[in-house]
């Protein structure tokens, strides 16, 4: 019996290298857990029919000595990342049966390494939400308490990893969509520096924000995946070229800035207590804790909810029933567009399209969109300034503990507030990692978040690994 609970990429790699078990054995072990738990947790929308064939190919690499760390490692892949020949629906009815016609670059990389894709994980439709409840195919559940949400939009990926239904997973972030569900499911999630990991073949939501983000139980595993995927891609015009990937701050030290003013008042008291004790532990380990002020950052979520819907309304205009996906015929072509989109898009998706269209329309463009960008630049400048005197920014990952299914469905803004602490990193493009930090008295996971300057993921991994030891 393989101990999936305590398994890591490196342990699995060693075991497979030594011949203790094969990737096929490992994959079958995960499939067994999936058949036992996923009916209830609904982390997956589909398990691929060729899983064992993929594993066998990986086993060949071990036989001929070409196996690397990610060979034979079972992954959950978020439903908005394209794998050629497989359905990629972004959890939307408008793409329910859409088959990807090419591999996302990150998939190509993982295929090259011989990773095994178990299936596509559930998400909020078009990556819009914070709980996976906006999926057109039913919500996923939190493995720690099935009456609660796993977070979102990468809730399927984080639930799968937390419940031993995948060793690791890929999610995506536009605003907290991997860090927040990682917090809710007690796993590690990294949002890399914007431009470090290719967006080619990832269903676009907000082009100035989206990043593929790895999910795993430990910081080291997230590091392994990031190292494999962080490279320039010619097919992604926003991908940073290799020579510009030097860490923005060399000589990172041990100064941790905490913007207490951003969350002192409203935070759940249990989370505050856990956060304070986490900060203490770092202090006792030789980190200097500095109180910092980030006045513009408190507008991050508002800025996000102006810029993102604008980008979404543009990106989702390609889904029109014409070339692929759901088509509902009408009298005219425009009729077809209208009917297909109205049937195919869920409520939250339509909300954001309407909002984005409003924000970009004549008369409001300046007041909302242009102003939001000005504030965004102010937030970026503020964060760059802050990093001159500190090395990391630390906050709780989420302002609440995992909430009950249905609890925030009536109030969109209440749902949006889940990403309050995540937003600055997405707006500024800085890398940020969520690391589990304990459990509440009800057994729900706590999480803390570290943010570093651009391309300083290495430093995030250092502090993350240190925190894993001392927490």
């Amino acid at each position: 019996m393989i101990d999936l609970k305590n398994l890591t990429i490196e342990k699995a790699h060693e075991a497979m290298r030594k011949g203790e078990y094969t990737s096929k054995d490992l994959t079958e072990a995960y499939l067994a857990v999936i058949s036992e738990k996923d009916k209830e947790l609904h982390a997956y929308l589909e398990i691929y029919s060729d899983v064992l064939t993929q594993a066998e190919k990986a086993d060949d690499k071990f036989k001929d000595g070409t196996a690397t760390l990610l060979t034979g490692i079972p992954f959950g892949i978020k439903d908005n990342i394209l794998i050629e020949g497989q359905i990629a629906s972004a959890a939307s009815k408008i793409l329910e049966n859409h088959i990807a016609s090419y591999d996302a670059t990150v998939i190509k990389e993982l295929k090259g390494a011989g990773a095994v894709f178990l299936g596509r994980t559930n998400m909020d439709e078009f990556a819009m939400g914070s709980s996976t409840e906006y999926s057109a195919f039913g919500p996923s559940k939190n493995p720690y308490d099935i009456t609660r949400v796993p977070g979102g939009t990468s809730g399927g990926s984080t639930a799968a990893v937390a419940a031993d239904m995948a060793l690791v997973a890929l999610g995506t972030e536009t605003c907290g969509s991997v860090r927040e569900p990682a917090a809710f499911c007690g796993v590690v999630g990294l949002k890399p520096t914007y431009g470090s990991v290719s967006r080619h073949g990832v269903v676009a939501m907000g082009n100035s924000l989206d990043q593929v983000s790895p999910v795993a139980k430990t910081v080291r595993e997230v590091e392994i995946i990031f190292d494999a995927l962080s490279k320039h891609d010619e097919n992604d015009a926003t991908s940073v070229i290799e020579q510009n990937r030097t860490p923005k701050k060399s000589n990172i030290g041990k100064k941790v800035g905490v913007p207490w003013h951003l969350f002192e008042e409203e935070l759940n008291p249990e989370i505050m207590e856990n956060f304070k004790s986490s900060v203490e532990k770092l202090k006792n380990d030789g980190y200097e804790i500095v109180d910092i002020k980030l006045p513009y950052s408190k507008y991050s979520l508002a800025v996000y909810y102006i810029i993102m819907p604008a980008e979404v309304s543009t990106n989702l205009s390609r889904f029109d029933g014409a070339r692929y996906g759901l088509r509902i015929e009408g009298e005219t072509v425009t009729d077809m567009f209208n009917k297909s989109r109205s049937s195919g898009f869920g409520q939250e998706t339509r909300r954001r399209i309407i909002l984005g269209t409003y924000i970009l329309s004549h008369g409001y463009y300046d007041a909302y969109y242009n102003k939001a960008w000005k504030v965004r630049h102010a937030i970026i400048k503020e964060m760059n300034e802050a990093f001159k005197s500190i090395d990391f920014i630390m906050t709780p990952t989420a302002p609440f503990l995992p909430f009950k299914l249905g609890e925030k469905m009536d109030d969109p803004v209440a749902m949006y507030l889940c990403d309050l602490f995540n937003a600055p990193a997405n707006l500024t493009g800085t890398p940020s990692i969520a690391v589990p930090s304990g459990f509440s008295k009800e057994g729900l996971p706590f999480s803390v978040q570290f943010t570093a300057p651009h391309f300083c993921e290495g430093n995030l991994f250092d502090i993350g690994k240190k925190f894993e030891i001392i927490r």
Partner: protein, 92 residues
């Protein structure tokens, strides 16, 4: 905002909405705008934005390994087609 605004936006975004949906969207949008309009009051100095990025261009030629997509998979997914061409209702 009023219902007429929502209707205009629906036309622009190519969405057919029921009366109920329009009401709901009006309410939701107003709620969200209420939250985000806080940025109106934010004083931002005229920042000289320094972009580190620059536009990247390439020659318009097929590169090795291109096209990397499956033509067959694309054509097979046309909701309606004729002789390998995508088919829609008449446009003109």
């Amino acid at each position: 905002m009023n219902i007429k605004d929502v209707e205009d936006l629906a036309i622009l975004s190519r969405l057919d909405l029921t009366t109920e949906e329009k009401e709901q969207l009006l309410q939701n949008t107003e709620g969200i705008l209420n939250y985000v309009k806080v940025i109106e009051g934010v004083e931002v100095p005229d920042i000289e934005v320094e972009y580190e990025q620059k536009n990247v261009w390439r020659e318009d030629v097929l590169r090795v390994g291109e096209p990397d997509f499956s033509h067959d998979l694309i054509v097979s997914q046309f909701p309606d087609s004729q002789d390998g061409f995508l088919k829609v209702k008449k446009i003109l």
